[in-house]
């Protein structure tokens, strides 16, 4: 390509230049939704409100899924049983965030990660496991040193009266 073509198409703009363009249109049509959670997630959220983590079992392969699914993604059959699972587990991975969703700097960095819950039926080191993605209340230094990976943790619930049937009813996972 470069042997034949010297200049590629494309007209670059600086931020200021862009904003001063004649005919620039600014717009944001509303995009709002009401998602039906369906039976399974509705019941899972209800469980959170009661301080329980509910899983759902596949009748074919026996896997217990957390978060629960209506169907087993590996067998493609409807799951058939509710199982309350332990609220303990270990940190699979954890990171320290210094930015918000909008990519603004946040004042107090937070630790977030994925938690492998102590749900029966999964072998140690298995590629798949049951667990959640959430905030983790550990010292950021432990994330950097690597101490956090594999650390045993448990759920820290919000006070009962503040729970709304929402994933944020779990405040975070904290060291056991």
């Amino acid at each position: 390509m470069s042997s034949k073509i010297n200049k590629l198409p494309g007209i670059k703009l600086k931020e200021k230049e862009m904003y001063s363009l004649i005919g620039l249109v600014e717009d944001m049509p509303q995009a709002k939704y009401d998602f039906a959670a369906g039976t399974t997630i509705s019941k899972f959220l209800e469980g959170l409100k009661e301080g329980k983590i509910l899983g759902r079992k596949c009748p074919k392969c026996g896997r217990i899924f957390v978060p629960p699914r209506s169907y087993c993604e590996w067998c493609h059959v409807a799951t058939n049983e509710w199982i309350e699972v332990p609220q303990t587990g270990e940190i699979h991975t954890a990171v320290i965030t210094y930015i918000s969703t909008k990519r603004e700097k946040i004042e107090r960095p937070e630790v977030v990660g994925t938690i492998k819950l102590d749900v029966p039926g999964y072998r140690d080191g298995e590629y798949e496991f049951a667990g959640l993605f959430h905030k983790i209340c550990v010292d950021p230094q432990d994330v950097i040193s690597g101490k956090a990976i594999g650390m045993k943790v448990k759920v820290r619930w919000k006070p009962k009266e503040e729970r709304k049937g929402n994933i944020l009813d779990i405040e975070c996972f904290e060291p056991l």
Binding site: K4, L8, K12, M18, E73, I96, T97, T101, I167
Partner: protein
């Protein structure tokens, strides 16, 4: 999938085009698509009237700010009274568009396909990263207020923990790719930097620093793909599609081991099988693994079986993947160096292999002789693996 003994006609790439990769483009998305498509047509000596089908690739509508973005890009991509579809596997789309074009031609339905990928990320304000809030599960994940970088940081952290790689080992990929990009005319973030520069750049989500990440980019890329008979008439040096592979993992990324990209490995095995490749680490001459983040290139090198699991980072240190190394990866400069207009970046990688296999890459041409090449892209919540194997 089975291999097909009846197939006589192969599928070829005969032309490629690309726009400059920019932080902010004056062009509308449809104009970017047109610029790349026009260049691809010109490079193959064709006009739009020669084209009989169009395949478009573009990542979320929420970047360009266009609902039904494929329809919007239609005319700019040449879909003027022509069959056109837009295929979509998130970030994996760029490599997936030529895969889809492959079956347009291999099925006998189309003879000459225009393949276009476009992304304009600059319209979304305050920052394109905000858009990524909407890729998460609306009920279980979004309330946590996630940023896209979180998931990459988590995967990188896991890779580091499991494989013993350090941040400075991983930063070498960024150094290599940004340096390679100095020779790419489309490049947005080409630079001669050091590992120290990467480590000292702003920490966004530890362990991810600013220079570990590819930039927000506007741009487009295009290919012309045809049947074997047509290709022979157009050019003496067609590049053949030997294999395609694609896999979509389950959505529950936090129920999975993140250190190894199983999604990619499955896709790679599918593509290699079709291409008759049994030992990719020996048979592949040049690769364009997907590198939106520096660790992701290592991750993908392992998924593509170009290195053993957890060993890619060691080989980077030895210069194994440099442009004059034993197995050059991202000779284009990759997403880290050239830029990352999502779908267009993936297609840029395939275009690079097209130029490499025709020995037309100029200063970027790898030193060793090249016969077989592989590119991949990743997408979604650590889910989509798309792989294409090419030969000359």
């Amino acid at each position: 999938m089975r291999s097909n003994i009846f197939m006589k006609d192969r599928v070829a790439i005969v032309g490629a085009g690309i726009t400059t990769f920019m932080r902010r483009a004056l062009e509308t998305p449809r104009e970017l698509a047109w610029e790349a498509a026009k260049m691809a047509l010109d490079s193959a000596g064709l006009t739009l009237s020669d084209i009989d089908c169009v395949v478009i690739g573009s990542a979320p509508d929420t970047f360009d700010g266009m609902h039904l973005k494929g329809e919007y890009l239609g005319d700019g991509s040449g879909a003027i009274n022509k069959p056109m579809t837009r295929v979509y596997v998130g970030g994996g789309t760029g490599v997936f568009v030529p895969e889809s074009a492959y079956w347009h031609v291999a099925s006998g339905v189309c003879k000459k396909v225009l393949v276009v990928a476009e992304e304009k990320m600059s319209p979304a304000h305050p920052h394109p990263q905000y858009v990524f809030k909407y890729i998460w599960d609306p009920i279980i994940e979004r309330p946590l207020g996630p940023n896209l970088l979180w998931i990459f940081a988590m995967e990188m952290r896991r890779y580091m923990a499991k494989c013993g790689a350090k941040k400075e080992d991983i930063a070498l990929v960024s150094v290599k790719n940004k340096r390679n990009a100095l020779d790419h005319p489309a490049a947005l973030t080409a630079a001669n930097i050091t590992v120290d520069d990467v480590l000292k750049s702003e920490t966004l989500v530890w362990p991810v620093n600013l220079l570990d990440v590819s930039p927000v980019t506007d741009g487009a890329a295009a290919l012309i793909m045809t049947s074997e008979n047509v290709a022979r008439e157009i050019t003496d040096s067609p590049v053949w599609v030997d294999g395609i592979g694609f896999t979509l993992e389950n959505q529950h990324w936090y129920n999975r081991e993140l250190a190894f990209p199983r999604y990619l490995n499955y896709a790679a095995r599918m593509a290699y099988k079709m291409a008759g490749i049994e030992r990719p680490w020996k048979e592949i001459d040049v690769a364009e693994p997907y590198d939106p983040f520096d660790y992701k290139e290592l991750h993908h090198i392992e998924g593509l079986m170009l290195a053993r699991p957890c060993e890619a980072w060691k080989l980077v240190r030895e210069g194994y993947f440099d442009r004059n190394g034993e197995l050059p990866t991202s000779p284009s400069g990759g997403l880290l160096g050239v830029g990352n207009p999502i779908a267009a970046a993936g297609l840029m990688k395939v275009a690079e292999l097209f130029w490499q296999l025709r020995y037309e890459a100029g200063k970027r041409q790898v030193k060793k002789p090249v016969h077989k090449a592989v590119a991949n892209a990743w997408g979604d919540l650590m889910q989509a693996g798309t792989v294409i194997v090419l030969s000359n």
